[in-house]
Symmetry: C2
Subunit: 238 residues, 2 copies
DNA sequence: ACAAAAGTGTTACACGTACACCCATGG
DNA sequence: CCATGGGTGTACGTGTAACACTTTTGT
């Protein structure tokens, strides 16, 4: 039995996380200030190297938890970035993951160990290396996926109103939807369970809270929905 | 300036290609007999290690060309497989790519340098490591993508008939479509240019050949089509 | 003439969209 | 009592699916 592929070259493999959040006012991105040279102090995605004995899922969850304290977060592998010179120090592949988190659950102090900060996606600073490209791709992927699968619920708290959900979709697609059609469409999926209380923060009438029907949610997760009108137009350029 | 991230561990990175082909009789998969230990002689996906100075695109194209002689082939990154023990020799990440080729363009001798052979997808042998899992995922991804984007044309020769195209879709989704609705749907996209000749191999009446309208094809590639009826049903389980 | 595949015409219906309108309530 | 946001009812049109029927031509 051989114990190594002796002639081949080994490379560094990192993971970078594109962490999206929502708090009712636009989609946000969690960024950190890079703690090591080169580019120390510049804004960057949260990342880390894959350890010798851990799986990629383990590594990505470990990195996310280190920054946010959160576990059981929605995460998806996006793409491997592998341009030979993407990291000037040494050849490093980076596996980009994107994560969706309820921004209110992120309680850690900002400017903590990593000097993390939420940025509105549209006011994002320049990032190191190819991280800007990673974010651009993640944005596309989020739109693509959310057009057909109910991923965006991952960005909301357990109880939410339909107008809240709508404003999330509007933020993601940067457009306005008809509220009357939107609520009917969403309700027709049977994914939501109406609660007794209303949220009166945004109107006098108040909007009912809903929770996800977890069973239907996991069952339908991979089903095609069609929450957004005119998907062909809104997704142009994919 | 630092020249290395000194403390981190480097790993081997391979690329494995899931190569789909079509010749009118079911979707096929191009496999090779592994040439090195361990598992030497067993069926496997075509693969190779990423070289120190090449990009991932370069590596995947190089590997595909070495096996098939083909360039400018449709290829897409699928997923990185990284279970710590996926290769018993030593930790190796594998970036899975899937490729779509016109089976008639593959002229190389079978049982050539790599002992390559086309297998009907449904009669596929057991593969080494996690390659079976890679193929399963690629199949899903092919169905998913083809439901909305006109990728399957990559599997056909330059000139093809609509019944041929339909039998390709039927092979991919393992079901039958209504030929009358199918041809209208496809033609309504404006992607096809009718030729003067007919193919008389499969019927006395003969079916007109078509070519792709390349301009529209690249423009619409990322647009949502909807070639298959009942996508929710056919894509169940994604 | 017939069989068999290619292709046209027609219809019913589901669904998405637009929009008039009603509801609830705090100021 | 009225402004505001939440929500229902309804009507219209497009696109999809089902299927009867016509076309073409080799045997």
């Amino acid at each position: 039995m051989i114990s190594r592929y002796s002639k081949e070259t080994r490379v560094l493999v990192a993971i970078d996380c594109i962490i999206f959040g929502f708090d009712g006012n636009g989609i946000k991105l969690l960024l950190v200030q890079r703690g090591l040279e080169p580019e120390k102090g510049k804004w960057s995605l949260m990342g880390g190297f894959v350890r010798p004995e851990e799986s990629l899922e383990h590594a990505s969850n470990r990195i996310l938890k280190k920054l946010t304290g959160l576990e059981d977060v929605y995460m998806e592998q996006l793409l491997v970035f592998g341009a030979p010179d993407r990291d000037p120090v040494e050849r490093t592949l980076s596996i980009a993951y994107f994560a969706l988190i309820d921004i209110l659950k992120y309680e850690k102090q900002l400017s903590d160990e990593y000097h993390a900060e939420w940025f509105l996606l549209k006011d994002m600073p320049t990032l190191i290396f190819d991280h800007t490209e990673m974010v651009a791709l993640a944005k596309k992927q989020l739109r693509y996926k959310a057009a057909m699968h109910p991923v965006l619920f991952e960005l909301l708290p357990e109880k939410f109103t339909i107008p809240q959900l709508q404003s999330l979709y509007e933020a993601v697609y940067d457009t306005d939807f008809d509220n009357r059609n939107f609520s009917r469409k969403v309700l027709s999926t049977g994914l939501l369970v109406k609660q007794k209380e209303k949220d009166k923060k945004n109107s006098k009438k108040g909007a009912f809270y809903f929770k996800l029907n977890k069973r239907k949610y996991t069952d339908h997760f991979k089903a095609f929905l069609n929450f957004i009108p005119n998907p062909e137009k809104l997704l142009n350029g994919f």
